[in-house]
Symmetry: C2
Subunit: 217 residues, 2 copies
């Protein structure tokens, strides 16, 4: 980024940078308004570019831009849990949650709208995108646990925790972002370990994992 | 109920009974098909009554019937957690979950459709109904905990558990209703106690509750 970054309209951007800039402008508009209330003019204005330029990048118009913006948000969310699989589990999960909560913090209204399905036009497609993110997060976490063939109880535990994390994020946004992210993050990690411990009583696979966790710590 | 109950078309029902019969027929149809694919003829046929009779009870037509059916399901779900507030917490929660899981078991496809928003027409209204049920469940549980003025951490814990229970129900339906309800129920109750214990470390109000729980047990 150059020092002139404060006048985005006059910068020459690469195709990738321009696409990214338009998607970010779109995401921040979709974050606060229903897609049907956002025009391409609004996106052009927010990005400080001309309307034809928006069309050049998204010839399919608003629907294409909307789906690209959603897809880009989903990709970003998916990467949150993509953490090198080395070192102890708890610090790894902590770093993943740091990234995830930073995303929630940055995209607050859009994050709520996406998950609550309130103002979203194409519900079934949006639901599929959100489900894809949940599934990817579950895969990453099972990977962190070093499990390649998770049994039903372990899978259910991981998916329940992911849903609980989502619920916590929405409540956190509702409650003016209290408690502070660092506390929320640690609390969520502790909850995961507690849920695993409860499942361990009923499931040998999880019991072996939890034993490994204690040995690490 | 009369002994002739096996031929429902020819029974004389009270207004309340008839309304209930039509709602149940509608619910079981909406459970397996999108609302737009269910006609009033289908509802009349399923209930073994004439189409004009369905219109007499629901002059607003399908939309009115659909909303009434949803409202009736929501009311039933709400009552699951309405358990006398006496005796120990764990058996009370266990009884509430028994009722809840019986509901999920009975309305399987409809329950999934309702919560996943897949095939539902009026998403925002449906979302509001589902949120109402979640809120009511949270109130009941806080009532069971004997808390009148819950702090943010305790509220968040209860709402996270409710979401996790929902997620577990959907996964349970996906996985051919495994594990058996009794095991799932006990596991969910144990998870709740574990989550409370984790929160107790950070929150004096929850700590006092958990201390009370141990004293009971």
């Amino acid at each position: 980024m150059t020092p002139q970054a404060s006048t985005p309209a006059y910068r020459r951007l690469s195709v990738t940078e321009r696409r990214r800039q338009l998607l970010e402008a779109a995401l921040s508009l979709f974050a606060h308004r229903a897609p049907e209330e956002v025009s391409l003019d609004d996106v052009a204005e927010a990005a400080g570019v001309s309307r034809p330029l928006v069309y050049r990048y998204f010839p399919g118009g608003k629907q294409q831009l909307y789906e690209a913006a959603l897809g880009s948000a989903a990709e970003e969310l998916r990467q949150c849990f993509d953490e090198p699989r080395q070192g102890e589990l708890v610090p790894r999960l902590t770093r993943a949650l740091d990234r995830y909560l930073a995303f929630v913090d940055e995209h607050d209204a859009g994050f709520s709208a996406l998950l609550q399905g309130g103002s979203v036009v194409e519900t079934s497609r949006t639901t599929a995108i959100v489900d894809g993110v949940r599934r990817a997060a579950a895969e990453h976490i099972l990977g962190h646990l070093g499990v390649t063939d998770p049994g039903p109880r372990l899978r259910m535990t991981v998916r329940m925790w992911i849903t609980a994390v989502e619920a916590a994020s929405l409540i956190w946004l509702d409650e003016d972002k209290q408690p502070p992210t660092v506390e929320l993050r640690d609390w969520l990690v502790e909850q995961f370990v507690a849920l695993l411990s409860v499942t361990a009583v009923r499931d040998p696979q999880t019991a072996a994992l939890v034993a490994g966790l204690s040995a690490d710590g």
